[in-house]
């Protein structure tokens, strides 16, 4: 019977980043990616249910959805879209930097990603604050009186139907913002680990997985922006 400590001990030429139950680094990376993508599949279905609810109520109450959507600021929403796209770029730069062992670029990209993440949340907070001030938050104080339906100046939007839009708006953007907060937390840990020199061109799996998560959150926003901010803006 071989002692378990001698079996686990690194043999000559053994890659310290390679866990002993994997045959080669490529297999280890593929296993991690596969697990992450299965997690992202559950996330797609999770957000998918909300998109489905949105789709049904949008078809049912299109006029109110358009009227309520036009209370949002396309400028702020568009800025946030640009902020997220730029953060996705800094994430791929971080992965590229670790692949090419460029430490300064790696740390700089991670810091930039975290800053852009906070920019997104800050702009989101400004938008939420405006919703509270205008009483557009669903609940007893919700007000949406005398807002005409776009294209029908004489037809006033039904406040109950508009409230449905704002409920979906807050749940969808709120869950998205929660994902952003988790992402920023994870990237803060990645920054710390990268600063400590944990990642090498041979082993950077946590950074790659964090990147997949961040890009997924970006993709969710890519759909949320036109669906929530740009309903029936045509002139």
């Amino acid at each position: 019977m071989a002692d378990s400590t001698t079996m686990a001990a690194p043999t000559e030429g053994h890659n310290p980043a390679l866990l002993h139950h994997f045959a080669e680094p490529q297999q280890q990376r593929d296993a991690a990616s596969l697990g992450m993508w299965i997690f992202l599949a559950t996330e797609v279905m999770f957000f998918g249910g909300l998109f489905c609810a949105y789709l049904i109520y949008r078809l049912k109450y299109f006029g109110e959805f358009a009227a309520a959507s036009q209370q949002l600021s396309v400028k702020l929403g568009g800025t946030n879209t640009v902020v997220l796209i730029c953060s996705s770029l800094t994430v791929v730069l971080a992965v590229w930097a670790v692949q090419h062992a460029k430490r300064t670029l790696l740390l700089g990209s991670l810091v930039a990603t975290i800053i852009l993440g906070f920019c997104f949340l800050g702009i989101k907070a400004v938008e939420y604050r405006e919703k509270f001030e205008k009483h557009h938050v669903p609940g007893p104080s919700f007000q949406f009186a005398n807002v005409p339906v776009p294209g029908h100046p004489d037809l006033m939007a039904n406040p109950y139907h508009a409230q449905m839009y704002f409920s979906l708006y807050f749940v969808m953007t709120g869950l998205h913002a929660l994902h952003m907060i988790i992402g920023i937390g994870f990237f803060a840990w990645l920054l710390w680990a990268a600063y400590k020199g944990r990642f090498t061109p041979e082993y950077y799996t946590p950074l790659e997985m964090g990147g997949l998560y961040w890009h997924f959150v970006d993709i969710v926003w890519i759909y949320l922006f036109p669906l929530l901010y740009l309903i029936d803006l045509r002139k």
Partner: protein
Amino acid sequence: MSDHSSSEHSSSLGLYFLIWAALLAGTGLTIFAATVNLGPFNAAVALIIATTKALLVALFFMHIRGASEKLLKLVVISTIFFLFILLALSMADFGTRLWS
């Protein structure tokens, strides 16, 4: 370095910046398209642009294009398939409800 690892690292910085520029252009395009009267096609155009952007992110930033593992591509395709079932069957139900 073997050919395998060099092809895995082949995504160049130039390509990343190109995709980034395309995503920014897509954002501008979707805002512009929303203000043009296309009748019933406004929503379709917005979704086509969003899906194109999502594909760019998934293929190039999330490295689906260079993925060597076929199982991973299967997971991605089945995710899209199940999302399609969720949306299509719900819409088939909602769209044919004569009683509501």
